[in-house]
Amino acid sequence: MTTIFRAKRIITMNPSRPEATHVAVRDGRILGAGALPELEGWGPYDLDERLADKVLTPGFVEGHSHASEGAMWRFTYCGFLDRMDPGGKVWPGACSIDAVVERLKEADAKLEAGKPLSGWGLDPIYYENSRRMTRADLDRVSTTRPIGIIHASGHILQVNSKALEMAGMLRTGINHPGVPLDAEGLPLGELKGPDAMTPVSPLVGLDRGLLATDEWGLRQFARLCVRTGVTTATDLANLLEDEAVDMMLRVSGEETFPLRLVSLRVFRNTTVAGLIDHAVRLKKRSTDRLRLGIVKIVADGSIQGFSARLKWPGYYNGAPNGLWYVPPEHLREAFRLALDAGVQIHTHTNGDEATELVLDCIEDALRKYPTPDHRFTLQHCQLADAAQYRRMRKLGMCVNLFPNHHYHWGDQHYALTVGPERAERMNPCATALANGVPMAIHSDAPVTPLGPLFTAWCAVNRRTQSGRVLGEAEKISVADALRTITLGAAYTLKLDGEIGSIETGKRADFAVLEDDPTTIAPENLKDVRVWGTVHGGKVYPAAEA
């Protein structure tokens, strides 16, 4: 059965036929895009007029997100910026500590006794005078119920006195850089890093392990994808234990699941050989809507956490260099084994020294196992310099940059972490394209909100929250940005033969837009309204998601 959709305008990303008014779909795939008479040759069809006044683009591809964004909406949103939940409700930002406390009081009143109160998205860097929150603030919400709020970065947990007491941490004698203390030597309530968070996380309902197998969360994530025009999204760091894979296969296999999920096996709790072996086994379980078999390795930490590995001269504020998250020897081994086994690796590198190490390791592995088209991808790769892009090109690598950082933390990078010059070259999209390095851009949701059009806006405008333009020369055009959030991201996942453009043979995945992103002013790109998606030929209006 053939369906032909009529649209106001179809932006195809197919250079030989960049625009169309109709697209014909059969069995979830595209027969062709063009004018109606051209498509009628495919035989009998139903004409679907529901999208007649909409603009279609290829479904957006989010190349670096985490399905846990969905599960986060179980918890109370405490972020500074407005954020849309999976049901489409926009939660206004909580602009002060008092506002956060008020919002938590409302949640506390609705919650049954004995249950922990959990929040997420806190970002005190924005508060007046950057005042940090303390346990006294959260004690105003409750002294009898444990409360925890995970910060936007995901690396800090904010807790009340009750939570500390239950964890045996409301005492003196703790001497750890991740546990700031008050004048009496008791923890202030901010717990930084996994060591400090571990004893308290499960007590406040924020156990990391539970999020991975959260079926409700996966469904919420898919709803958010519909609302943001995303038809393929990555879940970039999952242990992919059997139980989680079973759940993901079951849910994504449902007739009306509106998303293709690409879930990467993160390097944790195994050896390098065990990791590659697991990826090979996972690949065999792949389905259309659940793609498995890619590996994610985290090489260093974050720039704003001063745990990224930077080349000389290091951090602008003089902080010591960050840490390796895996030994360089293990990285070298991983790339060799991966090439030998035909496994793709995406590597998190934030600092330019981490990027350099990965380039060295890949060059070494390629000498031993020459492999065309491996598409090893650097994730974040925020500080890479031009010479590193020239190497990436020669080594056949892809990059997935993080322009949202400019808006969310660009001012802090300028003033504190890497200083003005390097802040301007962070996430250099124009350099990547000029050097011919295949590129994606991402949100890292839930770190920043899922929304490829917003990410595209960040890459096009490079504006910080204070309004500063960070790196005029690294801005890219709207056309390049749109290609990047569709075909660009698909290429990094080796899916560009199936998705990323609207042309014969590809999956019938579309973003359905109310406004035309190519005619709206570039500074308003983020305001393009998303009506919903088409996934595998099925229409998913956001209003019903």
Partner: protein
């Protein structure tokens, strides 16, 4: 959770880069456990790196070892593993944490304070004498290596048997400049006298120490000796620690109780780091101190002079 009044479990952090000999050292200590219930936490995965003849039973994450010891893998969650160890019955007498090859042992040591009922005993960092200088000059690992060594109470300079005498002397001199805060023990096959690292049960030291508890023998780490001293007067504990650290050649460890004007204290020296804590009143005024030296005998006269200087 461990209740406050119980003696905290001492924890030894065993750090050092890949291939430095951490696993060999841990196996050596398990062989020397002599009835102590040691809990070993390792960062490795796959086959846990315990010598097969020591294994009594095992599953994916835990090995039971002959003599009541255990070994388990902690992956990315050391603190959770430490909490589990503190809850075990019977409690381990001592915990050994083998860090990942790129971890900073000082960071691991500070994580111990997050878990109630534990105390740091010593930070031991191993170095492969053959390759450590090269690694300390490598563009990617240099600062990791030097920061690891700077965290050590005791540096075990391992595999010195692979070096010529000149190279060994050069490596030792270099190590003294990189880790001036630490005592350095040259050795091979990661052999370190067990009583340098293993304590004699829960708590820093038992209430009584055999008055004449001295033995000498020769092994890879050089001459190793342990001697006990009675201290009858009150002393300035800080001064005593300082004098011992400065004067006594080869001192790697001292432990005991001494009387001070402010009351009895437990005094420990690990490497060159003194730890002085209040002790139970029952100690009275009869101080005891055990001094352990490696590489030279315990020079009684020097120790007595240090005690006299601290009176």
């Amino acid at each position: 959770m461990v209740s406050q009044h119980e003696a905290p479990i001492p924890v030894t952090v065993v750090g050092g880069y890949l291939g430095a000999g951490k696993t060999t050292l841990v196996n050596n200590l398990l062989r020397a456990a002599a009835g102590r219930r040691l809990a070993v936490l390792v960062n490795e995965f796959g086959a846990l790196p315990i010598d097969a003849d020591l294994i009594e039973a095992q599953d994916d994450r835990m090995i039971a070892i002959t003599g009541g010891c255990i070994c388990c893998s902690y992956g990315s969650d050391l603190v959770a593993a430490l909490i589990d160890m503190g809850r075990r019955t019977p409690k381990p007498d001592q915990i050994l944490v083998e860090t990942s090859g790129v971890a900073l042992p000082g960071g691991v040591a500070s994580a111990l304070s997050i878990v109630a009922g534990l105390r740091l005993d010593a930070v031991l960092v191993l170095a492969d004498a053959e390759t450590v200088r090269e690694r300390a000059e490598d563009r990617y690992t240099a600062d990791t290596i030097t920061r690891q060594l700077a965290d050590a109470d005791i540096v075990v300079l391992n595999k010195t048997d692979l070096l010529s005498n000149e190279a060994r002397a050069e490596r030792l001199a270099w190590m003294q400049t990189v880790a001036p805060q630490a005592r350095i023990l040259p050795t091979s096959q990661a052999r370190v006298p067990a009583d340098v690292l293993l304590l004699d049960g829960p708590g820093p030291v038992r209430g009584t120490v055999a008055a004449t508890h001295a033995h000498h023998h020769v092994h890879d780490a050089g001459l190793h000796a342990s001697e006990a001293f009675a201290i009858v007067d009150t002393v300035d504990a800080d001064r005593l620690a300082r004098e011992l650290i400065d004067r006594v050649a080869g001192l790697v460890r001292a432990k005991g109780f001494v009387a001070t004007r402010a009351g009895p204290v437990a005094l420990q020296i690990v490497g060159r780091r003194p730890v002085i804590e209040p002790a139970p009143e029952t100690i009275g005024t009869k101080g005891r101190l055990v001094v352990i030296c490696v590489g030279s005998p315990v020079d009684r006269a020097t120790v007595e002079a240090a005690i006299a200087a601290a009176r």
